[in-house]
Amino acid sequence: MRYASLAFFLFVFWIALSGHYTPTLVTVGAVCAVLCVLAAIRMRTADEEGHPSQLFGGAVTYLPWLLGEIAKSAWAVTRVVLDPALPISPTMTVVRASQKTRVGVNVYANSITLTPGTITVGVEGNDLVVHALVREGALDLEDGGMDRRVSRFEGQA
């Protein structure tokens, strides 16, 4: 099932990039997609980390939420940058990632980095070392709202 999904995505990617719909080229694309899947299986990258198709259902609601968070915190950082007093209070903290799988922890760590104002600088097991531009950003993460959201996203699978 995962292999079929990977082949499907590779094939769509081929079509989108080529823009030619002649039978020959479409067939070549399909063959290439299957060959790539075989190569990925042999390299052991077509697993739940390399092609996390178990998360695609949850991503439909998670990604818009994440984009909203990114927009909000980007606006907050913009205001800090444009403020003549430059009111920054850099803070380092450690937050707990409650996700069960490595993919889940990875999603959480990358979500923290993607939202401006917070960067994951280190991962120690389930502990994420986070650098925040302002103190409130660090406190927000310690509250664990985003952690719970990511766990829910992981659990939907």
Binding site: F13, A16, L17, G19, L67, I70, A71, A74, W75, V77, T78, V80, V81, L82, L86, I88, S89, P90, T91, M92, T93, V94, V95, R96, A109, N110, T113, L114, T115, P116, G117, T118, I119, T120, V121, G122, D127, V129, H131, L133, R135, A138, E142
Partner: protein, 118 residues
Amino acid sequence: MNLIVEIASWALMLAGCFFTVVGALGLVRMPDVFTRMHAASVTDTLGVTCFVLGMMLQAGFSLVTVKLFFIFALFFFTGPVVTHALAQACLHERIAPLLAEDRRKRARDGRAGKEAKS
């Protein structure tokens, strides 16, 4: 209809310009490497998103829009990896971040206290 699309597209692209300039300005104003990364992330999240959406409106329903989406996805997935790699490299070089407050120990202890109580 065409006019509305044009206006929306240019508004988005101007917003993209604004956030890119803000990122650059922040890069100059911030005091150390970690805080500069925060400023730069405004450019490669909100700046890029506004630019790509604006260009998608210009392109309309075509393969170009799909390709623009791929560019957006590339930024979206490689951005955090690069940022994380840069931060790790800085820590390995023992560049100490300028901190107003270090809550690392406190956050760990606070949690240990909570777990011991429950």
